[in-house]
Symmetry: D2
Subunit: 363 residues, 4 copies
């Protein structure tokens, strides 16, 4: 259980990293959406390993195929099944760690829960499971764009202790093109360079490093989100915190709100010259009372350093005896650049669902 | 929609703050659980306004009544309906804000979404909706204790910029009794005093202040959590981020993980002298790969300052014109002490559901 | 589990027959629906025992109260909690059957499943649980009427071997007023009289008798129903087959279709003079491919004879020993007249959900 | 929406008849189930067209492939994705009916609902969508057999007005082998012969004919089913009534119960010499109060005659004008033989879900 996300725009993912394929089924995507498979492919390319010197050198082309629900460039209103074959599984790379529990990996907990595991490659605990999410998210992004003019853009805001201040990004214009100008997916060239140096240094030390992804959503109208349990920030948090290696989530002012007084934090309303109501500030991050208020949705997701390091470590083997080991293979020194399309996917999936739920209740 | 939480241990809440009552229905609580209504009442008492000089002075006794699913001290396996009548609704206190959108409140977004609102008291956007959650959470806590020996304990860790360091709390022994020794629900007497002074100062200034709740869970066995979307941290985040005024969530090392290297962050496994496997450190916060690993679950929730301040503010009225206003009434200068049982409730609800889901799949 | 029905218009029922109250929570009813509590009360009156000499003489007034989600005659878009207090529980009437398993009742299976039971009155296995459904169904009926002009009308078509032929009912005009002209809820006076005599005869013999309810729905537009699993006839069947004592369900031609050839059964399409498309016949019962086709929805539900008979019977006691017993108390010789509002309720709930699901996907 | 079935053992199907493939994803199948792909293939072979002279001559080999969730003959506890490629799509066969609404087909309702349709082959409204169900059902059957010793066996009981009386079948021993002895899937050789003649006669006349499938389930223990809405007969009805061409469902005595008195219909309990409790008769069909009682589960599903007949018919074209047409192509004169594995699949899916739900609540 647990492999579905959403209530009306509902995605089911499946697939082990070294099995035949990974993919998703989307149920609830309305009929008649013109979606571009190239957009899906592009997001998968942004997710895949081997795309730059900064990330894992697995060589997966990750070509997406649509098996159902789609014809002549349009959705049929029936389930979309999107599949990506697994082509670069190298079981031998996992030989060194067979029979032991890698620290801060899921080997131990999956074995304890299921009593069995994929014989190689991490199975569903591998980051490769995110292929299904990213593909589905790219469909959700196109639905949101066509139906509601919504745009989701994420970038790497922090690597280790290096931080791109939020006020150095123009939230109204920051774009995928700007974000993808460099391999670190940081829209600020100066920070991007620092990020890159830090990641390279960490890689050479056989170590890894964490960071943060920031995400902004433009164009969400007032009214999305289903209080009290499915408030918009709650389903966004659910989605983002289900990503591999995520450790924290915040909306708007987030943890910074702790240190503010109400008089500083409140967002005064003011009349919008174009009609309607706006807020002067946006500490609420575009969500008030769990419902979008028409401002930019702004959120942040924290990621831990990748658990696979190429340094000797203590652990136990599957018999429970203490052992020392040093991993080998192909892994990322920093997951952040690849996490950008993953965060975009989960945000888009949560929003697409909120959009359809709101439409169901519409007057 | 959106008023249900959980899949197997499933709670539905209902009730406006100035309506007849607030409450919950719990479906999926196993039969034969001996539950103590006094424990539910005690958690409601910890949640209710008026309990100390630090919180809102609404005088609600919030007496819980069980209408179904419960007989002779035991659950029947059928839905539990728990009800708390609304007794201290004072519609006149809301007169001053009628016809305008209070900044950072839900007035505007609820009106836009639903086209109608409870005529007084905030309706479901009031913190009073948490009565249903807290009552249900207290049932979940008892299920978890009896069936699995699980204990959930939360406390106020931060008020404004005052922080109780985690290493000054003994996570193995911290208890509700210790937490409730003072009105701020901080288990450290020195910090508790500082928190109290700060809250009083803020109150006198007509202002409000935010902070953080820390929560630890003892006794969760290895194996709970349903990857890939319902990883344990994801459902915990969903629950906690649906609480009024919550702005951020983190598990284990959380946002602090961003600044760590893998070599620092990894939790080495070691043999448990009593059998099985333990981790030497617990940066993972008790969850690896989305599944509990048998260590303490440790999480933190950030809360913004309460939006109702007794200072003059800019806003717009329901006709869209700019106005200035100063709220009156009974409100909290700091939601943190009352947020403690709310966080415990959402954590217990997420865990009770994970427990039953795991049991469904058991070998 | 299992006490919820629907996905977007979602009802949760709760309550034991001898507990404090029975009721329902409705989540997903759109805001702004003008609903009339008298209509809910009227359906509850049609359901309650004691309404005529033909049914059980329990004297429950069954007065409904709305605790939430409703103000000034309109829904708020938040959960509606409807409650009916239990007032005429007479535990002593159940003394005679304590300690034994009544044949074809749920005593044995509930005890085996839950290991515990309500100490008197049948708990949730009592027909009293249908109070919650009927109340929710009456809200659904008003939503359907206001938003889509849909009308749901059911009647007793068969008692024992006495059958009202379908062609003796004008499906375009049959109404609640016509149905309720007599206590048997049969719109044909001649059959109504025969039904009444048969029920009285069976009652005098201490026996009971089964029959059928027919239901017609007018005004459903083309397009409701969610293939492939939630085809409209499938969710209608789910709802109707969850009613106490129901044994069978059919849509349109139903079991009669078995004996027809395709050339007889097919419904030819023809142009509608008012625009659009109609079918010349309606063997499909208003649903084709699981989706409403704009014709009348016609269905039938079979009910078994009530299990409580006042004749000596064999059974076993809770220790597993064979015993003979003769029940006493207040029960229905024939459930059919009271089943009419129950069928209407389940049909309305399934349709209200289909309506909102379709609206969610709307272009 | 609507392409998922079950809550804990949850199947999602996808695929158009003339698209790339059809298949299913199963989420919630416990880890460690030894399942035999040949059993899945065998059920698919029983479902597929072309298997005998009695059914459609489409030549689909329908070879199933497992893409995930399965390794070394055992389930991994992760989603199973089962895929069957579409190989014998012949779009040209549908040319004759392009541009018109075939009577009693889903052409009109799907077009109205979705505004778009698969360009050939019926899309998801084709019986080909049942490939996914049958594959998933074969997994459910193996789970049920291994974990609970449950066996599901169905057969053709009626074709047109020819009926195999229930008392001529030994419900304790009737088997797939016996059922599959002839092409009509009737376990009684005499009736099987009559069924075959009737189907051949109807085929030669260019017509089609309906009938019934009977299903018996052996080995279900007392306790499965989730009242009040997910009573076992209700979820069985939901599943069976979602099958293409199904028109009616009954449990146990079914519609026959209408004509019985309580004194005839009640199933007296008696002590089981081997311990526990049995019923002397089984009018309840193995379910009392919505919960299995340990007796045989017995149900029946009515199917209408296939809508595609090779006779001239009236209909309208997509412009709404009256036309006459005569279909051509490959179709079944009687769906019953192929409906047998479909009914088995839906029954097994409903039971597997009930089994896991019961296990979740277990003491």
């Amino acid at each position: 259980m647990g492999n579905s996300f959403g209530t009306q725009f509902r995605v089911h993912t499946w697939g082990e990293s070294h099995g035949g394929a990974v993919g998703c089924v989307i149920d609830g995507c309305p009929a008649g959406i013109e979606f571009d498979l190239d957009v899906v492919q592009r997001q998968l390319n942004r997710r895949r390993p081997g795309q730059s010197a900064l990330v894992s050198q697995r060589k997966e082309t990750d070509t997406v195929e649509v098996l159902s629900g789609f014809e002549n460039g349009r959705t049929l209103g029936t389930p979309l099944c999107l599949v990506v074959a697994n082509r670069d599984a190298r079981p031998e790379a996992y030989e060194a760690t067979r029979g032991l529990y890698r620290p801060s990996h899921a080997d131990y907990t999956w074995q304890a829960k299921f009593g069995v595991q994929a014989s190689s490659g991490g199975g569903r605990a591998s980051a490769r499971e995110t292929v299904g999410r990213v593909a589905a998210g790219a469909v959700a992004q196109q639905l949101l764009r066509q139906r509601a003019g919504v745009e989701v853009v994420a970038w790497v805001e922090q690597v280790h202790d290096l931080v791109l201040p939020l006020d150095r990004v123009d939230l109204d214009t920051v774009s995928e093109a700007l974000v993808d100008a460099g391999p670190t997916r940081c829209p600020d060239p100066s920070l991007a360079e620092q990020f890159e140096s830090r990641i390279q240094a960490v890689r050479q030390a056989g170590d890894t490093v964490g960071g943060a992804v920031r995400c902004v959503v433009r164009g969400v109208p007032v009214g999305w989100g289903e209080p009290v349990f499915d408030k918009l920030q709650a389903t966004l948090a659910h989605g983002c915190m289900s990503l591999p290696a995520s450790r924290g989530f915040e909306i708007g002012s987030g943890f910074g709100a702790m240190q503010m007084k109400g008089s500083e934090h409140n967002d005064p309303f003011e009349p919008d010259p174009e009609g309607g109501v706006r807020t002067r500030t946006n500490h609420s991050g575009g969500i008030q009372g769990g419902i979008s208020n028409g401002e930019l949705i702004v959120l942040r997701v924290a990621f831990k350093p990748v658990s696979t390091i190429f340094l000797e470590q203590d652990t136990v083997n599957t018999e429970g005896a203490a052992v020392r080991f040093t991993p080998k293979g192909r892994h990322d020194p920093c997951v952040l650049p690849r996490a950008v399309p993953m965060v975009e996917a989960m945000v888009a999936l949560a929003l697409a669902d909120a959009y359809l739920c709101q439409q169901a209740q519409a007057r």
